[in-house]
Structure formats: structure tokens, C-alpha cells
């Protein structure tokens, strides 16, 4: 390769842009060619002299810098808007989606658990009515029925005075709901039976609603609530008004 071809590569050499192969060959040539070595040195000197002469030749005034900075800041958005737009929107979106999934899953789970609990109580109610011996303690006297549960339940409860009401106490029995003991009381109103289930609030019955809730489940009137650490559930084929009236009596009796 003659010197002209080598010199075509000298700009890349002084600009540090040679490939390793070019560099090897060029440096080999520069070691043996004084003319090309001088040319390379001259180009390198010119490059450095150009930089020295051109760099910082013109300096912006402080006023101009300030003007640019103020212009840029003039319409600066609040930091939260920038943050929202750049990084937080995706994060918030993901968090919202996650929360939605969690809440939906939780609601679905709770809804499913509530349905299962109500279905279990309905089964107990129906089974009681179908039994030849629906209650273990047969008595219309609340002072007989309540003491019967002593020693059988880890809690106690009050029963209302029914003398001036259409309701009649038939008796009670021990049940197990979600592997925990509870009381099932049987009342009668105009030939309709009403089961009153009383359980501890945190003993498997927490899938049942805590606030006063009335509903219709498969034709049965249902009312449930939580009071003084006990969960009450009333189920009957009578109308909801009767169920609600008995529930009011029980709630009144349950208040200390």
C-alpha cells in the first residue's frame, strides 16, 4: 500500500476511529515512514489547535442563561403532575388493578362463604322441622330453655318475654355450626316455625353478615345480625315482617 492510501486513513487515526485492523497496519507504516508520521502529527496538532481556538470562544452572558432557565421554568407543571404522567400512572394503574382483583376476590370469597353458611343454616332449619324430635328441650318457658344450655355452650344469651306477642317458644337444641357449638331455638307464629340460631361471632360464623341483614333465601325469610359478641340468624317460611318482629324482640332482650 502506498503512502496516499495510508494518508486516507490518517483522519480516522487522529480521530481515534480506526478499526483495530486499520490501527495495526497504520501504526506499522508510521514506524517506517517519516513523511506519513509527520503528516499524522500535523493533523493531530491541527485538531488540537482547532479545539483550543474554537472551544469556549463565545461565552453566553449570565442574563441569557437566566432568561433560558426562566423561560423553561415558566410553565413548569407541578411536580405531582409530572410524576403522575411519567412514572406513577402505570404504577397506580397496576396498584389499582391489583386492588380491584384483591377486592373482587375477597368479595367473591366472602359472598361464596356467606352463601355456604346460609345454606348450612337452612339445612339445619329444614332438618329440624323434618325431625320427629325437633328440639332437645321442649318447653315454652324461657326460664327452662335457657338454663338447659348451661354447660353446653361457651356463652349465654337472653330470651325475650313473649307474653304479649304472637310468638311462642317451642324449645331448643344444641347444634354445631362450622365445628363450633351453638344454640338453635324454635319459635312458632301462626303455625309457622322460626329457627333462631345463636353462635359466637368469631367461631366460624364470621362469614355471616354482622349488621342487620334481611333476605329471602330459597323462599325462606332470613334475618341476621351481630350483637354483644353473638351472631344471630333467624330462618322461617313465614313472612319477613314476622321474622323481623321476633328479631326485634331478641335484640331488645340481648341488650344489657
Amino acid at each position: 500500500m502506498n503512502c496516499e492510501l495510508w494518508r486516507d486513513q490518517l483522519d480516522a487515526y487522529v480521530d481515534d476511529s480506526c478499526t483495530p485492523e486499520q490501527l495495526d497496519g497504520l501504526e506499522e507504516h508510521l514506524r517506517i515512514c517519516a513523511s506519513c508520521a509527520a503528516e499524522a502529527l500535523a493533523r493531530l496538532q491541527l485538531k488540537r489547535a482547532t479545539r483550543a481556538a474554537a472551544a469556549a470562544r463565545f461565552v453566553p452572558s449570565p442574563e441569557f442563561r437566566l432568561r433560558i432557565e426562566e423561560t423553561l421554568r415558566k410553565d413548569r407543571k407541578p411536580a405531582w403532575r409530572s410524576a403522575l404522567r411519567s412514572a406513577w400512572i402505570p404504577a397506580l394503574g397496576a396498584a389499582f388493578l391489583l386492588a380491584l382483583i384483591v377486592v373482587s376476590t375477597s368479595l367473591f370469597t366472602r359472598h361464596t362463604a356467606r352463601e355456604q353458611a346460609v345454606a348450612e343454616l337452612l339445612d339445619l332449619h329444614v332438618a329440624t322441622l323434618a325431625s320427629a324430635n325437633p328440639v332437645d328441650v321442649v318447653s315454652t318457658d324461657r326460664h327452662t330453655v335457657k338454663p338447659w344450655f348451661q354447660g353446653k355452650l361457651p356463652f349465654t344469651f337472653n330470651l325475650p318475654e313473649l307474653q304479649d306477642s304472637p310468638f311462642k317458644l317451642l324449645g331448643g337444641k344444641l347444634i354445631y355450626f362450622k365445628h363450633n357449638p351453638g344454640a338453635q331455638l324454635l319459635f312458632e307464629v301462626r303455625k309457622h316455625q322460626i329457627s333462631v340460631f345463636i353462635m359466637q361471632s368469631q367461631s366460624g360464623s364470621d362469614s355471616l353478615p354482622a349488621t342487620v341483614t334481611t333476605s329471602s333465601e330459597k323462599g325462606f325469610s332470613v334475618e341476621m345480625w351481630d350483637q354483644a359478641g353473638l351472631r344471630y340468624a333467624l330462618i322461617s317460611d313465614t313472612n319477613a315482617a314476622d321474622v323481623h318482629a321476633l328479631a326485634d324482640l331478641l335484640r331488645a332482650a340481648g341488650h344489657p
Binding site: D11, K47, A49, R51, V59, I68, T71, L72
Partner: protein
Amino acid sequence: MAHSFTPSFRCLSYTVQGVTELSGDFGSFEDLAMPHFARLFNFACWLTQDRSAAEDLVQETYMKALKGFPSFHQGTNFHAWIYRILRNTFLTSRTGLAATISLDGDDAPSEPATEETPESILLAHGEQHTIQNALAELPVNFREIILLCDMEEMSYQEISQTLAIPIGTVMSRLSRARKAMRTLLTAGMEGISQ
């Protein structure tokens, strides 16, 4: 300066209302752009040959860069990106100037190669003004590529991105620009010696 241009950037009344609305992150833009401010102004002065025109050019560059910042890909070469904006603004804003610049450096007349090496003599005499005058007298497309390479120390790849030309064109244009520069320096030396 050898040339005196009538700056078309003067009296730019720029409002950024709505501009930052489009920007994704002002803080990041300011952090990236302001460190280049002094160098951009210097480069703009070399291009425009006029301080007022350079100020307008830099201001317009910053506004355009801020507006286009959402489209800037983080992690890519901001240096080359903002210089490209400045250079394109310069080309498009100066009426009639774009026509004087050949975007294809290969179209420029080839300067005769010189066997003289005036650099060491110039450096020995500290003739910075001669180099500055030679730079100012170069055609803009030669001046800008020398400044990007030698002053801004951009790689060929960065120059290629900034000027939107292939790397092969960068190399050939740079070679021609340096030959033209040396010719002008030789003439400057002759002026000194006389």
C-alpha cells in the same frame, strides 16, 4: 468574524405555553439540557457568526427540544439529539442559507491537497486568531463538521446522527473540510509572514 449575517432569529417572541404540557418530565429535560448550554451557545455562535442570532437559535433549540422531549428515548444520545435540533433549526430558520449548504459533502469542490504543514508554525506562534479566522471562512458544512469532531469531540457515529448523513459521508466530508482548513491556514501564514 469574517462574515456578517442578517440574523433571522431576532425578535423571536417565544412562549412555552403548552410546550411543557407536552413534555413528559421537565426536571429530566432541564437536568439533561442545561449542562450543554454554554457549548451549544458557542457552537451556535460559530454557525451563525452573530451573538444575537446565536441566542435566538439556542432559545429556539431549547423550546423545540423541550417540546420534542417526550419523543426522546431515555438512554440514547442526548448530546447528538440536541445538537441535531440546533443544527436543523439553523438550517431551516435562515432564509436562503440552507440553499448555500450542500447537505452532501461529496458535492463540494475538492480542495487540492497541500504538502505544507503549517500547524506547528502556527502553534509555535500561538496564532489562535488565524485558526479562528480560517474556521469562520470555511463553508458552513465544513465548519460544522470540524467543530463537531474537533471541538465537541463527537465520534463519527454521533456526527452521523447529528447531521443525518452516513458515516462514510462523515469521513469524506471531514477530510475535505480539513484540507480546506489547511489551505486557509496556509494563506493565513502567508499573510502573517508578509
